[in-house]
Amino acid sequence: MSGPTDPQANNATGAASETGTGVDHAHVRPLLEDDGSRDGPAILTWMVGLLLVPAGVLLALGLRGAADSRDPRIPDLIAEHLPETGVSNPVTGVLLNFRGYDTLLEVAVLVAAMVAVWSLDRGQRVFGLPAGRARDEPVLAAVLRLAVPTAFLTAVYLTWLGSSEPAGAFQAGALLAGAGVLLTVARVMRPPTAAALPVRIIAAGGVAGFVVVGIAVLPFTGAFLAYPEGWAYPLILGLEAALAVAVAVILVELFVDVPSIPAPDSTLDTVDPTGDPLGRALAPDATPPDPGAP
């Protein structure tokens, strides 16, 4: 084992760049810049490019005038059935009624990404001001005082507006997440941690709400997520609210919980690459290597 895989070398360079006063240019370059020396030979780049040119020409020719030459059957059908969806914005109708199952799975993708990011590394390391500093910075404090309540109100409004106008839960969730990240980085709010049960419950709430509503209507309408007569609007509004909050929490998690380099728990770097994939010791009673040991 040598080079970049060597745990010792890995730790040593990490320590050097942290304690060093100046910018370690030799180290910055490979991380933040890419001089292209790792890319394949230039001939390969050109050959892949030449392969893709005819594909592009074919696709462009095939797509030429496509929008005008086809029958707009689906837009007509959507316009015809929109009154039955309980909302007047056709996009919201598609997302929460016609194709509500896709939206359910879409939030499940967010949950999957969040759980996957949690599984990558321990705890969280947030970049930001030292705790309590936001109060001493008048400009920042003013921005926070103004921006965060505005974002919150706008998010509520966007969620409600989604049933009739171009807006909805995902836009609102993104806005809320922006406010959350701002508060976290300014250290006004403790970042939500993966270990906190409320975080898990809210993050799961979007999918859970969808599945529970879907199953609850099953005995009445005979199909998953088929809203009973007259219930579509309130159910959609409730689902949108749960979605907005869940999306916001998940996006903040995806922001604060990605790993940092180097990982502080140095035990991870001393894993024997030939042994147990989870880095466990062979003997069941053997103590794991002390993380604080030099």
Binding site: S17, G22, F255, V258, I261
Partner: protein, 97 residues
């Protein structure tokens, strides 16, 4: 080329060209920070394209999620790399208990 050349057509042409140009530039550059900034610019241009295509819902979502959140995610990753590389010490990394 049966249609007359209108202002709208020229505007759409410029937006489409700008989109492709930004992508070409950001995928060719060797500097990560520049690429991320170009990505955010691309996202905002894309929001404009969605408006021109008659999809205001998507324009709003693109500005918030595509350019905003995704740009922030890339910047976050860049920052973590920059701290590791010793290039950025303004915002120190803190470990929460």
């Amino acid at each position: 080329m049966t249609e007359p050349l209108t202002v709208g057509f020229v505007l759409d042409g410029l937006v489409a060209l700008l989109l492709v140009g930004l992508v070409f530039r950001l995928l060719r550059t060797r500097h990560l920070f520049e690429a991320i900034m170009l990505y955010v610019a691309y996202g905002l241009t894309l929001a404009l394209a969605w408006v021109r295509l008659g999809a205001p819902d998507i324009a709003l979502a693109e500005a918030a999620l595509g350019a905003g959140v995704t740009g922030a995610l890339f910047l976050n990753a860049w920052h973590r790399m920059a701290v590791r590389a010793g290039a950025d010490e303004r915002l120190p990394m803190e470990s929460d208990p």
